[in-house]
């Protein structure tokens, strides 16, 4: 079977909360192997879109196709097991578990020992537990947090919590990674190292879709940029083209770029 060009296709997707239209009649696709950014003013529907793709909210109309498979209507845990992982705008770590344990939860979808097998410590589950730990250590090291392995996740500084969330999402070995404002709250150095990390993730074959307000980061790392305003698409193009797009400048970018 030929690999499809787009890893994710969103068709005519809409979602309203009461009278408020958060996403309206949205069409776009994400080519495999790139970093694509979603930008737009606050309330443009970016986070709602993530929640629709990852199954946290059901959509009103429209459909989402992931790797040629319709995922509309699936539950979040089913979508996660198909290969979409994500981070959250407001960090959603398992605060009372250690950093390493958080990532070990990320291995959940890649493991399968049942309750009897782990309760009786059958050889299969022992082997699996060892692999979970080794992989978790690898992904913790990937974001440079090995020294925090046994600290409670909730006690880490925000920058490290964000990295830990990325690491936990990566531990599921996703085909598509959704990052919701990964640079919010990070300082300049942290943002630069995050950018390096995201490129590395992409180079290892994971497609990234990210929502981000930091325009420098977006223009720096993305191959494509989708611009939303009031839940509608106003541009979907290469970063240079988006930068020059009059609608985008009107809606959002003008001020930012002048000041940059």
């Amino acid at each position: 079977m030929a690999e499809s060009e787009s890893i994710l296709k969103v068709r005519r997707l809409s979602k309203a909360f009461g009278g408020l239209v958060a996403v309206f009649d949205l069409d776009f696709s994400v080519p495999r192997g790139i970093i694509k950014a979603i930008i737009g003013p606050n309330g443009a529907g970016k986070t709602t879109l993530f929640n629709l793709i990852s199954g946290i909210f059901p959509s009103d109309t429209g459909e989402t196709v992931f790797q040629d498979r319709l995922i509309t209507g699936l539950k979040p845990y089913q979508i996660a097991s198909l290969g979409i992982s994500r981070t959250f705008q407001t960090v959603e770590l398992f605060k009372e578990m250690t950093a390493l344990q958080n990532i070990m939860v990320g291995r959940h979808v890649r493991t399968k020992s049942g309750i009897l097998s782990v309760g009786l410590k059958l050889p299969g589950s022992r082997r699996e537990e060892r692999t979970i730990r080794e992989k978790a250590e690898y992904f913790l090291d990937l974001v440079g947090l090995s020294h925090r392995a046994h600290e409670e996740a909730g006690s880490l500084p925000l920058g490290e919590q964000k990295l830990l969330e990325v690491s936990r999402a990566l531990a599921t070995e996703p085909e598509l990674l959704l990052l919701d404002e990964p640079a919010a709250g990070l300082n300049e150095t942290e943002t630069e190292s995050a950018a390096r990390l995201f490129r590395k993730i992409r180079d290892q074959g994971t497609t990234i879709l990210l929502v981000e307000h930091d325009m420098n980061l977006v223009m720096d790392i993305s191959e494509e940029v989708l611009v939303l305003e009031y839940g509608r698409k106003i541009a979907d193009d290469k970063p240079e083209a988006v930068r020059a797009n009059a609608d985008v400048i009107n809606a959002y970018l003008g001020v930012e770029l002048e000041s940059a």
Binding site: S54, I56, K75, P76, Y77, A80, S81, S85, R86, F88, E92, L93, F94, K95, E96, M97, Q101, N102, M104, V105, G106, R107, H108, V109, T111, S113, G114, I115, V118, G119, L120, K121, S125, E128, E129, I132, R168, A169, T172
Partner: protein, 322 residues
């Protein structure tokens, strides 16, 4: 499962091994008999603690699963002459099936629907024990249940039952600790931490809640079978709602989020009537008072006592030293 737990298991095993020596002290010579019931009760509370502390669900029907095991063993061995171990497994199977029937609809929903469903389930089972007289002999109770035996060895003494029941209870403890320190235990903890993030990591919360509920029901059923063969007589009041509530109390008093707490709670509440004989029918007041004090001052239960004491006194000790 961590060094502390291994030390704990070894310590507990040693304690259980040596405890019957107290039988030589005449004032407390009957404590070994009470410890048999602590062992049986602990089998139930350990499963319940997994359900409450890790899956965040409450069951008001565990006395019924205990009763199902007991009646399955009693009826199948006496009326139908089945091998007691086979009868035990049939009880386990029956409890597991009923746990699925009662648990799946309510555990797919968020909130405390399981508590309500199990409350109704417990009442229905209790009514059946009382009312289906041709099968259970109703309020008269069901007697002449044989002792367990294995390879020709009959567990016909208190002491042999004591060791058998605690052997099984400790195996269950290891089983539950293994679950906690596995992908399933972490998945359950992650649901507690953030159900949103857990689902985004592929954790199917409903599925694990049901599995834990089944395991806890099966553990209660096994305890019931051992109870029936030890006491040799069963009657409905043992398996009523009040016992279900007492089981919850044990778990809360011991400390919900720790399996060792379930053992402490089972021991304390099982021994309590012994120490409260002077209060006669008012001993229920003592239960209420203990529960009240624990929830007010020891949110982590008795298991959290050392931590609370340390926090209370450490600053003062430091101050007096400094």
């Amino acid at each position: 499962m961590g060094r502390n737990n291994i030390i704990g298991i070894l310590g507990l095993s040693l304690f259980i091994l040596l405890f019957p020596l107290t039988g030589r002290i005449s004032a407390i010579s009957h404590y070994v008999d009470i410890m048999v019931f602590v062992g049986l009760t602990a089998m139930i509370t350990m499963g319940l603690s997994l359900l409450m502390g890790y899956a965040g669900q409450i069951s008001l029907g565990h006395a019924a699963f205990y009763g199902l095991g007991a009646y399955a063993s009693g009826i199948l061995t006496v009326k139908y002459g089945l091998n007691p171990w086979l009868a035990l497994f049939i009880g386990v199977f029956l409890s597991a099936v009923l746990a699925v029937v009662v648990g799946s609809p309510s555990l797919k929903l968020r909130g405390h629907y399981l508590a309500m469903a199990t409350l109704a389930f417990g009442e229905i089972i209790y009514i059946i024990f009382n009312g289906w007289i041709s099968l259970t002999k109703g309020p008269d109770g069901f007697g002449d249940i044989p002792y367990l035996s294995i390879f020709g060895f009959s567990f016909d003494s208190m002491l042999s039952n004591y060791y058998l029941i605690w052997f099984v209870a400790i195996i269950m403890l290891v089983f539950v600790l293994n679950i906690i320190h596995s992908r399933l235990g972490r998945a359950l903890m992650s649901i507690h931490g953030s159900e949103l993030a857990a689902s985004a990591m592929g954790v199917n919360a409903a599925r694990f809640k049901i599995q834990v509920f089944i395991i806890s029901a099966v553990m209660a059923s096994i305890a019931g079978s051992f109870y029936a063969h030890y006491v040799q007589y069963i009657n409905p009041p043992v398996f009523d709602l009040f016992f279900s509530i007492k089981l919850l109390m044990m778990v809360i008093i011991g400390g919900m989020s720790n399996i060792w707490g379930a053992l402490i709670g089972a021991a304390l509440i099982t021994f309590l009537p012994e120490w409260l004989i002077f209060m006669e029918d008012f001993d229920i007041l003592a239960y209420g008072l203990i529960l009240l004090l624990i929830t007010m001052f020891l949110p982590k239960g008795l298991f959290g006592l050392p931590e609370v004491v340390y926090k209370l006194f450490a600053p003062r000790v430091k101050a007096s030293l400094g």
